[in-house]
C-alpha cells in the first residue's frame, strides 16, 4: 500500500458506497413504479387523479416525495459516478470492448450509463415543473398537449429502461435470482409500466385537446 492510501485508509468506504448505490437504486425503482401507478389513476377518471393529488398536497406528501427524490437521486448519482469511465481513453475502451465481444449485458450497462446521465437533466426539469406548478389534472393535460409530450415520452422510456436494467443488475449481483427468469419477469413489468405510462399520456393529451 502506498503511504497516501495508508493515511486515508477507510476499509469500509467502498462497501458503503456499494450499499448506497444499491439501496438508493432500489428505492428509486420503487418510487418510479409507485409514481407510475399514481399517474395511472387518470385511467379511473379526472376526479380520481385530482383527489389523489389533493390528498398528497394536503398531507404534504408531495413535499416529502420531492425531498426524498432529491436526496435519493443525489445519493445515487454520488454512488454510481465512480462507475462511469471518466477519461476519454476509458470511454473509447469500453465502447470498443462492447462492440468486440458483442455481449448483451455489457451493452445494457453502457445504455444504463447513458440513460442515467440523460435522466439527470430530465429529472431536474420534471421536479422543478412539479414543485413550481403543483399537481393538477388540467395543468398536466395542458402540458402533455404541447411539445412537452415528447419530453414525457422520452423520459418515460429512459426511466423505465434504466430502472429495469438497474434492478436486474442489483439482483443478479447479490445472487438472489436466476438471470434468465429474472430478465423475463422484468421485461414484462417494464412493458406493462411503459404501456401504463403511454395510456396515461394519451388520456392527458386527449384531455388537453378537449379542454
Amino acid at each position: 500500500m502506498q503511504p497516501q492510501k495508508a493515511l486515508t485508509r477507510n476499509t469500509k468506504a467502498d462497501f458503503v458506497m456499494e450499499l448506497v448505490q444499491t439501496v438508493s437504486g432500489l428505492l428509486l425503482v420503487g418510487f418510479l413504479w409507485t409514481h407510475m401507478l399514481f399517474v395511472g389513476s387518470i385511467l379511473l377518471g379526472v376526479e380520481a387523479f385530482d383527489a389523489l393529488a389533493q390528498f398528497m398536497e394536503q398531507y404534504r406528501l408531495l413535499d416529502v416525495a420531492v425531498v426524498f427524490i432529491i436526496l435519493t437521486v443525489a445519493a445515487h448519482i454520488g454512488a454510481v459516478f465512480r462507475r462511469i469511465p471518466g477519461r476519454l481513453q476509458e470511454q473509447k475502451i469500453v465502447w470498443k470492448h462492447a462492440r468486440t465481444i458483442k455481449h448483451s449485458d455489457t451493452w445494457s450497462w453502457l445504455f444504463q450509463a447513458v440513460t442515467g446521465s440523460a435522466m439527470l437533466v430530465l429529472i431536474i426539469i420534471h421536479v422543478f415543473t412539479v414543485v413550481y406548478a403543483g399537481i393538477d389534472s388540467k395543468m398536466s393535460a395542458d402540458r402533455v398537449n404541447s411539445w412537452m409530450l415528447w419530453f414525457y415520452l422520452v423520459f418515460l422510456l429512459l426511466a423505465e429502461y434504466h430502472a429495469s436494467v438497474g434492478i436486474y443488475r442489483a439482483l443478479i449481483k447479490w445472487g438472489f435470482l436466476k438471470r434468465h427468469s429474472l430478465k423475463r419477469v422484468l421485461s414484462v413489468v417494464t412493458v406493462c409500466t411503459i404501456a401504463l405510462g403511454c395510456v396515461s399520456l394519451w388520456i392527458f393529451y386527449w384531455l388537453g385537446d378537449t379542454a
Partner: protein
Amino acid sequence: MGLRQLTFHIFRYNPEIPNVNPAIKDYILQEEMGMTLFIALNKIREEQDSSLKYDFVCRAGICGSCGMLINGKPTLACRTLTKDLPADISLIPLPVFKLLGDLSVDTGTWFRDISLRTESWVHTEKDFDPHSPEDRMSNDTALKIYEAERCIECGCCISGCATANIKPDFIGAAGVNRVARFMVDPRDERDEQEYFDVVGSEDGIFGCVGLMACADTCPIGIPLQGQLAYVRRKMAIAGWRR
C-alpha cells in the same frame, strides 16, 4: 458439411520491434476434418509464417494457455473447432494482459500477482503431522472447493470484463472466485474480516458492476455469477459488522 477455404485475420505485433505498428494480417488456409484452431495456427506457422507467436501447452482445454478473442469472443483456441466458425476468423490477443507478441499474452504474471494480492493459499496455524491420519472433511465440502478450484486461469473472464479492461487493479471474477475457493475451505483459518481486507473493496468484489460477461465466457463453465454473489454477500455481512 463441406470443407471451406478459411481466411484468418490475425493480430500481429512484436514488442521487440516497436517501430512496426500493430496490424491485422490475413492468412488463407484450407479447412480439414475436425480442425481446431490449434491445428490451424500450427499449419499457418509451419507453412506460411514461421514467426507467428501464440501459446499452447496441453491443447486439451485444461491448462488455460491459449485464451484469445476468437471473432470477438474470449475463449480457448485449442478446443475451438473451425466448423463452428464462419469462414472469416478474426484472432486477437486477450486484452488486459501484457502483450508479448502477436497472440501471446502474459497471463501467468497477472495471475501470480493476483494470487499474491489475495494471499491464495491455505492460512493455518496448525503444523503438519506426518504420523497422524488426515483431518476429516465431508465429500460435499471437497466438491464445493473443487468447483471453484477448477479455474484454469486462462483469463477469458478478465478479458471479457469491461471493468477489468479499464481498471488495472480490479481482480476480476477469477480473483474473486479464487478467494471463494478458500472461503469454503474449512482448513483455511482466516475469518471474514481478514477476507474483507483482501476483497472487500473497489479492487475486489465491490468493483464488480454485474456485467456477467465473465459467467458467459468462462470456457470451463464455473458458475461465476453464483461465486461472485456468494463472496459479495459474505463481504457485505463482514462490512456491516466492521
